[in-house]
Amino acid sequence: MRFVTIAAKAFKERIRNRNVLGMQLLFPAVFMLVFGIAFTGAGFDRNRPYDIIVINDDLGAGTGGDYSNLGQELETIMEDATYENSSINLFAIKNATADEALTLLKDREVVCVVTIPEDFSRAVRSLINTSTRIALTSAIGEGLIPPEMGIQLPQEGETTAQVLIQGDSSYQAFGAVQSMVVGIINSYLENVESAAIEQAMSGIPGTPPVSEAPEFVTLYTQSIAGTEESSNFDYFAPGIIVFGLLLGVIAVAESLAREVEDRTLSRLKISLMSSFDLLFGSLISWTLFAGIQVLILFGIALALGYNWVGGTTSLALAIGIGCIVGVACISLGMLIAAFAKSTEQASSLGTLIAVPMSFVIGVFIGFPPGLFTRIIAVLPWRQGLLSLLEVLTYGSTLEEVTPNLTALVIETVVLFVAGVLAFSRLRLKAE
């Protein structure tokens, strides 16, 4: 069992190398701390359109020339709404189905989802009719309206509707957007109501009375599941775990290149050790380290207020995902070590690849869905990031993250085979 000895050796070397240990644990821990602090009280940019989704389920009301879809009217009003004394729109409205909207909301690709119910137009009409009736009767008196005045009192409506506003209540941008949406809808309803009353009261002396109609359209704000108590930090914490794992690329590349440079690899090559012993033994050790790293960084995140969703199952799943991401990092490290001419070059190359990689995969920056996100989906670290986010922050189950997990495993296997082949051919054969 020579690979077990190699695994033990690699693990001892890893934990005794304070520089590497510091880089892999302290560096991401500091990032975790910075993000933890930064995203608990930071503000948001003003005067920019917020990405929202409006799902208009409104079936409209009336027939023929009387037909109107007030939900569409409301959507247009929201689309055209601008900041005060500015031409900048409040919202950039995106199209999506209800399911897509929820995913985009979870990924914070959009700030808010507004769902206009199918009875919206009928409920608004109920509001108009009831308000007008109340206004007329209170101004004149129902029994005192002579037929010759030609006033037909509208029937009181009974239809009610509820506009659903969904978002992550811990997301500061949502707080702002929610109040804007509520303001616009309430303003719309007031305008519609007062316009109707004004029209009905035309020709009748006196000031139109204040509406006393009951609420026909109510607004309901719903936080998406699993994030009610979360903060922006919850979105970044899984990314920082992936960032920590990515730093393992540097450690692995450096460690293997050092074996070459110090000629300890030559000592192993002339022994009975096979390529399998070296690479599998090292893999076991480094993967174990990756698992421990996930646990430690997760612990730090928890201490900083990270809201973990999903219980111990999600944690176990996250460790598993971390280990697979670790294997991807080891594979990349092998590839770098196969081509690096010195330890220093391996370290520099590892840094040059791993750090920008963390930005590219979206550890620190969220990317809107599009060509770029489709391209970076071929990177196992991106799939790892999405999987960890789903599992830890949104409490998704194994079944729910299976697509990401499958892509992660396939991409990791491809990278691992490439790493093993390159290192074996270039470093483990006689010179």
Binding site: T5, K9, K12, E13, D262, R267, L272, E431
Partner: protein
């Protein structure tokens, strides 16, 4: 070659050649037969091709042409069993700096499938013999240079190989550490009758430990014989190195001393007149008188026995360290 002779050969090279890019011929057609149980000294200056030859003999470097046969197997096809029979101490210190001395040794033992307990016992014995017991739990990276070099030697022996390749095992060692290492090699030679290939540029070490010595330079084998035979081939007797105050008289002194009876050879090397003669100590008055007669004043004089370095000088006209 008969079967018995074949069985007696531990390592054989035939036309072994290595040409590096830039047409640098590091080893040039080396034919060697290293017998079982002998200490085979590889003597030559730095850059002579010793280490390159060793790297090819252990399978770390592919030869440009020629072949290496270990225990009857071509090195590139050598079996695990034969691999276990070879231990290599490279010229560079090759240790895992973040492992302790014991961990370094047991790791290598494990790589040769030595059972855990045996590996630890063997490591303890070697550490004791190399006076490193107190450092057994110290990280290799924290050892002094001499200690690292000693541990480097132990790494080649921990799996108890039949053939030990020791490439400059005493390079850079202080006299005390050198004694410890040469003592170990000497004991292994006497008590265990292992085959030891010892490369060195230190003639005293090669002379002291080797059964046979191969002198190589510019990748070619110049001479191969026992140290005594090699020394006898260039003449018996002692050597006297004379430094004159006025070096311009060196050539005159050379001729005058060469004419003396019993003087076998005179030469000028690095500004000194070198005289080889039988019983040179008794001839000192005669030598000084001759020098005085040509007006040469002596600034320094030293007397020594004939060495392998003299053999090398006779063969190449250069000193080993030049």
């Amino acid at each position: 070659m008969s079967s018995a002779e074949h069985d007696d050969i531990a390592i054989q090279t035939e036309g072994l050649t290595k040409v590096f890019p830039g047409d640098v011929r590091a080893v040039d057609g080396l034919d060697l037969q290293i017998r079982r149980g002998e200490v085979f000294g590889f003597l030559g200056p730095n850059g002579a091709g010793k280490t390159t030859s060793i790297r090819m003999m252990t399978g770390l470097l592919k030869p440009t042409s020629g072949k290496v046969v270990v225990n009857g197997e071509l090195i590139e096809r050598v079996s695990g069993k034969s691999k276990k029979r070879i231990g290599v101490c490279p010229q560079e210190i090759v240790l895992w700096n973040l492992l302790t001395c014991t961990e370094n040794l047991t790791l290598v033992a494990s790589m040769y499938d030595v059972p855990g307990g045996d590996g630890r016992d063997r490591a303890e014995d070697l550490l004791e013999e190399l006076q490193l017991t107190e450092k057994s739990d110290t990280l290799a990276g924290n050892l002094s240079g001499g200690m690292k070099r000693r541990l480097n030697v132990a790494m080649a022996m921990v799996h108890d190989p039949e053939i030990m390749v020791l490439d400059e095992p005493t390079a850079g060692l202080d006299p005390q550490s050198r004694l410890v290492v040469t003592g170990l090699i000497d004991r292994v030679k006497r008590e265990e009758r292992k085959t030891i290939i010892l490369t060195t540029h230190m003639m005293e070490i090669a002379d002291q430990l080797s059964d046979r010595v191969a002198i190589i330079d510019h990748g070619k084998l110049l001479k191969l014989d026992t140290p005594e035979n090699l020394k006898n081939q260039i003449g018996a007797g002692d050597v006297m190195d004379i430094a004159l105050v006025d070096e311009s008289l060196n050539e005159t002194a050379l001729k005058a001393l060469g004419d003396l009876q019993g003087v076998q050879e005179t030469t000028v090397l690095r500004g000194k007149v070198v005289v080889r003669a039988l019983d040179v100590a008794r001839r000192l008055p005669e030598i000084f008188q001759t020098l005085e007669s040509i007006g040469a004043k002596v600034s320094d004089v030293s007397l020594r026995r004939n060495t392998l370095e003299d053999v090398f000088i006779a063969l190449t006209g250069r000193k080993l360290r030049e």
